[in-house]
């Protein structure tokens, strides 16, 4: 399998070197694997820090900047970062008002962030965590590791980042992050598996006329596979799953997200179907994103995330943001 890499072992470091060269607004510590705002910590502001495996770009490092994250900790591809990264990022970026960790619900992420939080607390730095678990594809979550964190992570990072910028206290920022998570649901469908640089082969097999339903973002297989259908049919499956869990009414933010290898034109085809579905349900799309925001390397497919907005969350969503991957209002 062809890849634009120099060496499978050095992909993460090489990409971080590239990010540093491309974005002077970031301070990239390639050795310690942390990406920080070049402006450094701001006194009195809660530091919002996230992290997770690499391969989901632009998540998380692409969201470091004004109005969003203070720091990101990229792990190896699809592998949670280690506690030292979060510890170092928090020490360098906290401005005396505490640190918020935005954590996607995966056993590895949860355990590594927990260890970092314990170590930070020992150093006297206040820390809170928001656990994102928006993926409705994970059923009977009592018998599993619980729902995965997927698309809503982008929304939680944007909105907590905006609130932190106003100087809000840690507890408020954390509660708002939980609120965004509670109001959001996602569902993903893959047309192809992805290929990790280390493995060099697809993470699962999928026939030419099959799609995988209920995928996560780590190239792991989903719940079921079915014969491929039209965009309209696939969107209906995704939206029905979401609507069953969180009735879709009122004002909603919609993110139609590409998994990394999906042409933008197809994402617009999907968005049209999502918008039509929501209209039919009586919901009003008031904010939207269409593009690659949380990916799975080169996987083809999409995920859709819906968040039921209220006035306050809408204002926080609209607040200025200036990061490599998301920017408006500034």
């Amino acid at each position: 399998m062809k890849k634009l890499i120099n060496d499978a072992e050095s992909v993460v470091a090489d990409a971080l070197t590239g990010m540093a060269a491309a974005h002077p607004s970031l301070s990239v510590d390639v050795r310690n694997r942390i990406v920080l705002r070049a402006t450094g910590p701001r006194p009195g502001k809660v530091a919002v820090i996230s992290g997770g495996g690499s391969g989901h770009e632009p998540l998380h490092a692409g969201y470091v900047g004004y109005g969003m994250l203070d720091a990101a900790c990229p792990g190896e591809i699809f592998t949670s970062p280690v506690p030292d990264q979060m510890l170092e990022a928090a020490k360098r970026m906290h401005g005396g008002a505490g640190v918020l960790f935005v954590v996607k619900n995966y056993t590895g992420d949860v355990l590594n962030f927990e260890m970092a939080a314990e170590a930070l607390a020992e150093e006297g730095i206040e820390v809170a965590s928001v656990l994102v678990n928006d993926d409705v594809a994970v059923q009977d979550s009592v018998y599993t590791a619980g729902r995965r964190g997927t698309g809503a992570t982008v929304l939680v990072e944007k909105i907590t980042g905006a609130l932190a910028e106003t100087g809000a206290p840690l507890a408020d920022v954390a509660i708002t992050g939980e609120e965004v998570n509670a109001r959001s649901r996602s569902f993903g469908i893959a047309l192809t598996p992805c290929v990790t640089p280390a493995a060099g082969e697809p993470t699962f097999e999928l026939g030419p006329n099959e799609v995988e339903l209920g995928i996560g973002i780590h190239g792991e297989p989903g719940r079921t596979r079915i014969p491929a259908g039209t965009a309209r049919e696939l969107v209906r499956i995704a939206m029905d799953a979401i609507n069953e869990d969180l009735p879709l009414t009122g004002d909603v933010l919609v993110m139609v997200n590409g998994m990394g290898g999906t042409p933008q034109i197809e994402l617009y085809v999907v968005f049209a179907e999502v918008a039509a579905y929501l209209r039919e349900k009586g919901a009003t799309v008031t904010r939207r994103l269409v593009g690659n925001y949380i990916t799975s390397l080169d996987m083809q497919g999409f995920s859709v995330t819906v968040c039921r907005l209220d006035e306050r969350l809408t204002l926080l969503w609209d607040a200025p943001v200036e990061t490599p991957a998301l920017r408006w209002g500034r």
């Binding site: 506690p83 590895g108 018998y143 599993t144 493995a199 780590h218 297989p221 719940r223």
Partner: protein, 212 residues
């Protein structure tokens, strides 16, 4: 069993994990995210480097250093789990210079408790607990029977191996594999498999030790 014995064990783990890296990663590709082999290889390579720089004086300090190194290098679910297991094992061994089989059995039990506390997995959830738990039980029984260390550790390794194989028919309830629901059945758990390799390494070192 002294510090050199445990250093030899870790060295053997590093060798075996490296050799079986692609196999472990393939197992993880089937029901996880295809990184378990690379994760552990990175971790045990890190242990090898740490020990080359400085070998702690006691078995307890050695295992604690190895555990901390895994936490710092591995990431994923297995980093904190194996890292805490080794750290707690090291703590349990205290600063004794040599370790008897009974102390080793107790320390392994401590490792199991650390994994269960952190990850919340029970026997039957299709995780490393399914290999570690029967190994602990076999070792405890062997200690009670008063048999030789190399035979006792051989029974523990066999129990772990059987435990890993038994995960094939299980449905995962913890970790990434749980997202597959019933589709996780029919695949051997990568973490249980690496636990079996680590305990086989312990047996092999004990056998070589007894012979020399």
């Amino acid at each position: 069993m002294d510090t050199r014995f445990f250093a030899a064990w870790l060295e053997e783990c590093a060798r075996v994990v490296h050799e079986q890296r692609d196999y472990l990663t393939r197992l993880d590709a089937a029901i996880g995210d295809a990184d378990h082999g690379t994760n552990l290889d990175r971790g045990f390579t890190g242990i090898r480097q740490a020990l080359a720089e400085h070998t702690p004086p006691t078995p307890g300090a050695l295992l604690a250093l190895a555990g901390t190194t895994l936490v710092r290098k591995v990431g994923g679910a297995s980093g904190p789990l194996y890292g805490s297991a080794l750290r707690q094992m090291g703590k349990a061994l205290g600063d004794a210079e040599t370790i008897g089989l009974a102390e080793l059995a107790d320390a392994l039990e401590t490792a199991l408790q650390a994994v269960r506390r952190l990850g919340g997995a029970e026997v039957g959830d299709k995780t490393m607990v399914d290999a570690l738990s029967p190994a602990c039980a076999a070792l405890r029984l062997a200690v009670a029977e008063g048999i030789k260390p190399q035979e006792a550790l051989s029974r523990a390794a066999d129990a772990a191996d059987q435990g890993a194989k038994d995960t094939i028919s299980m449905q995962a309830r913890k970790g990434r594999a749980s997202y597959l629901g019933p589709r996780s059945i029919g695949h051997q758990d990568p973490g249980a498999t690496s636990t079996a390799l680590i305990l086989a390494a312990l047996r092999d070192v004990a056998v070589a030790w007894a012979e020399s």
